[in-house]
């Protein structure tokens, strides 16, 4: 069990039939997932609590007016391309972070299958599916408006 999953410089690959020499090539795939994990975690840490507080508690309780409590203001802000891009990055990166954390949580709970390739396909593939669904919803729900 480790507190921090750091990117590996995965060496140890046998070069040649003897297999005696080891290279230390950067594991690019691992670095990619680490990038998605770290940035997703950072973005969720910086942005998500205020979304939950304002849109999930203060708005529904009527303590403050919030954009998503009225359809016209919600549509108006969702049409902004910067808002669309922000929501896509927030949701997509967060889900890559969640996929990584939940997979390692299962490993820590003694589910070795969570280390397998099918498990990786399910978890990270799930994040890809959520990303594609987010793109589809953002592009089809409210047209892009620059006004």
């Amino acid at each position: 069990m480790s507190d921090v999953h750091l990117p590996a410089m995965r060496g140890g690959r046998p070069e040649g039939p003897g297999g005696a020499e080891h290279s230390h090539k950067p594991a690019y795939a691992h670095l990619f997932w680490w990038f998605m994990f770290a940035n997703g975690g950072g973005l969720a840490a910086l942005a998500l609590p205020v979304h939950i507080l304002v849109q999930g508690i203060l708005g529904p309780l009527g303590i403050v007016l919030v954009v998503d409590q009225h359809r016209d203001t919600w549509i108006s802000i969702l049409g902004n391309p910067i808002v669309k891009l922000y929501l896509l990055v927030l949701i997509a990166l967060s889900f890559f972070h969640f996929a990584h954390r939940l997979r390692y949580l299962l490993v820590d709970f003694g589910v070795p299958a969570a280390k397998s390739t099918p498990a990786q396909v399910i978890f990270y593939g799930g994040a890809v599916v959520v990303t594609l669904v987010t793109v589809w919803i953002l592009l089809t729900t409210v047209p892009i408006s620059l006004g």
Binding site: P49, P60, V67, Q69, R71, I91, F98, L105, G110, T134
Partner: protein, 116 residues
């Protein structure tokens, strides 16, 4: 590893809670996605039920814990050098918490300021 290892030490328990924060945050973001999709339909009804508020309050506790633990780790993960001098981890952590406050103010201002 025995089944209840994470209940044996407070540190282990908090580690598991930290990793588990991903689940409620994911559920809340799925709701946000549903809310965005709902905006496209004429019968859009804003979420005002007390059940949703309770759900959000629970998610908020986990999201805050994620923010606290993740931003605190920045001092361990990020290594910066300015003018050949290493930036102390404490300064990095304080900067990250400052960024969190700034981001919260900006996002909150947009969510509330553009409401009519």
């Amino acid at each position: 590893m025995p089944g209840g290892w994470w209940l044996r030490k407070r540190h282990y328990f908090l580690y598991v809670v930290r990793e588990f924060t991903a689940l409620p945050m994911a559920l809340w973001l799925l709701w946000l996605l549903y809310d965005i999709k709902s905006a496209g339909s004429a019968g859009f009804q804003p979420q005002r039920s007390i059940g949703f508020v309770v759900f959000s309050a629970v998610c908020l506790v986990f999201a805050m814990y994620h923010s606290y633990t993740f931003l605190k780790l920045a001092g361990v993960i990020i290594h910066l050098k300015v003018m050949d001098r290493t930036v102390p981890p404490r300064v990095i952590v304080l900067t990250m918490f400052g960024l969190w406050a700034l981001a919260s103010i900006v996002i909150g201002a947009v969510l509330i300021g553009f409401a009519r």
